[in-house]
């Protein structure tokens, strides 16, 4: 075979490129036919000042509503990365918050946006959404490369995004967002969200959930470190023999008090609550189950046809934190009670990270466009007391979704303990809410409801999805 000359080689290469390009052009629309049309918010229809003048009212663009900051155009600090209109917050801006919140009128997926650091330091940022996903990343100072990044969120069914610095104890903050992209979930997918939470900031533990103040120090060891911040907090201890910072060791006592000689004292434990009302986008909970379901079997394209969007099922439980009763001297559990030391029976005392292995989500297809979702679980809290296996948060719900009618219909059955609060949402729409009653909570009236049986039955509650 005769070798090709240079002209023929170039011609052949061009022919191959042409054929490959044609194939790509033909196949691309097929591959993306099922993808929803992405929305873009780049603020180019707006024009703002070059410097901060004050927080604006919430700004709605398409389905997205921005709040916490203001629009700016041609920000000097961003000249290396973005000279157009952006949305930002700054500590010196009147009314600006530490975070930028983006609320969506409809559940969205495939969310990405540009985040820009406006400060001189290399800073960590945190982006969290209402599906329980949080990501952290670092951005360089504004005058260096790497001061801006495109953030992509993997979750679907998102209704709210909160953007802020990960460390929020600094008096300074300044950052901006732009080029928000997202796809609206066009009703084919339904994010089912179940949460149990404690509406108040604290719950007293049971009579047997206590700690022992004034434990003796291990032999040969002595407490190091600074004295407590507030003398008032320790005032009550000074009345005890051998106790109190002023007379020696705040954690272990002076060594004269012990569990055996009667000078040590039991303190009731209080658990930190979530301190919130019903909210589909609330970031705090005791336990949460999330699953995105696809009722239409023709759209359930992950190859399993089980009705669950691949990778969307999540069982989550938050850390349970217990505090000694002196943390309640000021009437509330708050950040001031975090002394960063455990097992000392003062302020923050102990934590427990609940395991989620007794939580299950089962989805069963009941028709071509209908599903049944069973949300079931048990959450032990060993800080409740020695019999926490009995005193656990228990729930068992069956939610039927029928998308064969317009609007889609839901029916809920099941049962749960009488405490704490329970809520179920489908695409952010409330399906079920149970309020345990007003605080303060007591063991005899509220915590006892964690014992068997399931106190509240839910029978055939139903409605339509907007």
């Amino acid at each position: 075979m005769r070798p090709l000359d240079a002209t023929q080689k170039i011609g052949l290469r061009r022919a191959v490129i042409l054929i490959a390009g044609t194939l790509v052009a033909l196949l691309l629309p097929v591959a993306t036919a099922h993808a929803a049309e992405p929305e873009l918010v780049n603020f180019e229809e707006f024009r703002g000042p070059r410097t901060f003048t004050g927080a604006q009212p919430p700004l709605t663009v398409g389905s997205a509503t921005f709040s916490g900051g203001q629009l700016l155009t041609g920000v000097f600090r961003l000249r290396r990365v973005n000279r157009s209109t952006v949305y930002g917050v700054w500590h010196g801006c009147a009314g600006c918050s530490r975070t930028i919140t983006i609320d969506f009128a409809e559940p969205v997926s495939d969310v990405s946006f540009m985040l820009m650091n406006g400060r001189m330091g290399k800073l960590w940022f945190e982006v969290s959404d209402d599906t329980g996903h949080t990501s952290e990343f670092v951005l360089n100072p504004y005058f260096l490369g790497g001061s801006a990044a495109t953030v992509t969120l993997p979750s679907s069914g998102i209704r709210r995004i909160v953007i802020g610095e990960a460390v929020r104890d600094s008096p300074f903050w300044q950052f901006y967002v732009d080029n928000l992209r997202y796809s609206i979930d066009e009703g084919r997918e339904y994010l089912v969200s179940f949460s149990a939470f404690i509406p108040h900031d604290n719950v007293p533990g049971g009579p047997t959930a206590s700690c022992l103040a004034g434990k003796p120090a291990p032999p040969g060891l002595a407490r190091r470190g600074p004295p407590p911040r507030s003398n008032a907090r320790w005032l009550r201890d000074s009345a005890l023999p051998g106790q109190g910072w002023a007379r020696g060791n705040p954690v272990f006592g002076t060594g004269t008090g012990s569990a055996d000689d009667g000078t040590s004292r039991k303190r009731v434990l209080y658990f930190g609550g979530d301190n919130r009302a019903f909210d589909p986008a609330a970031p705090t909970y005791r336990v949460r189950q999330l699953v995105t379901v696809i009722p239409d079997e023709t759209e359930d394209a992950d190859g399993v046809n089980d009705g669950i969007k691949a990778g969307s099922l999540r069982n989550l439980a938050e850390e349970v934190r217990a505090y000694a009763e002196d943390a309640m001297d000021d009437g509330v559990l708050d950040v001031a009670d975090e002394d960063g030391r455990s097992n000392d029976c003062r302020l923050f005392h102990k934590a427990h990270l609940a395991e989620t292995d007794l939580m299950t989500v089962d989805v069963a297809r009941t028709g071509p466009k209908s599903l049944e979702i069973r949300l079931q679980g048990t959450l032990h809290n060993p800080l409740v007391g020695p019999a926490e296996v009995l005193g656990a948060i228990d729930w068992d719900f069956t939610l039927a979704l029928d998308a064969s009618v317009e609007p889609a219909q839901w029916t809920l059955n099941g049962a749960h303990d009488g405490f704490p609060a329970y809520e179920i949402y489908v695409n952010g729409q409330a399906v079920y809410q149970h309020d345990p009653g007003p605080p303060p909570y007591e063991f005899s009236r509220h915590m006892r409801k964690l014992l068997p049986p399931l106190d509240v039955a839910v029978t055939n509650e139903s409605g339509g999805l907007q």
């Binding site: 850390e319 975090e338 960063g340 455990s342 395991e355 019999a387 296996v389 014992l451």
Partner: protein
Amino acid sequence: MIPVAMAGRAMLRRAIVASVFGIALAGAAAAQSGTGLPGGQQRLDVLLDNISTVPHRNWPKAAEAFIQAASEAEMADVVAVAIPALGDPREEQRYYALVGLGAAAMASVANGEALAAEAAALVDSLSDDDPWVREAAVAALAAIQPGPPEWTVADIAALVDDPVRRVAVAAMRTLERVAVGDDDAAGIHAMLDAGDGAERSRAIKVLSRHYRTQGNYREAEWTMIDGLDDPDRGVRWQAATALGDLDDANWSFALWRLDAVRRNPKEDTAVRRAASTAMNNILDRRPARSALAGPASVRTKAGPGPVRLRSRSGPVRIRD
């Protein structure tokens, strides 16, 4: 025909009225027999029996009434009713008898201490055919104050392999409250290789207590330090927390590893906070620097809050 039809309607109406009245009476009777009045005013045996005898839709209320009464009663009264009920052929009777014992023990320390005398009966229930009864039995053992008797540990440890996950989890939870023996610890040590993160997490908690009881701090420390590299966040959290609870940790190395966890930006926030707390605990227990062989490996900033090591990214990030 017409008068007959009217008479029929009247009879029907009377029948409905009588039925409604009957149902109301039955409801009132049920309330009187234990589902409506405070537990203290009812006999516990009647309340327990009501759980099986009231109409099916009323059993949850009957169960609640019994639990409430049990948690307000003296342990001796509850024992008098519940222990004989453990031999009842009806599983709901056995289950709620055990729940009643647990509820009473949770209500006061004195009750919890009194329950220790009934440990043998509780251990017998660990082999019940019904998994719910087994779970309640092991939970009732956990409610004994200050902890289940040592001789029950082997029976509880045997339930760790129970085919029903709820029972196995409850057994591990109970073992967290007692010092397991070497034989049982070896079996639990094998769970560190389990595929399930929650199982490994519970195993670390039980082993931490075991090694501390045995005084084998070195083994405990290395087990916990290995746990800091586990892929499951729950295991890492448990390992960091347990490391902070050791009285005799190898200070420098433990602190170095915990500090690495604390500073790792990709680490879970709860795990980082647990590492920070553990470092504080270790620093609190650490002998004064003059007593150490060498200088401290970490620099601390004086302050009552969490330790703050030098870091460009600032102090440990705690989500509140």
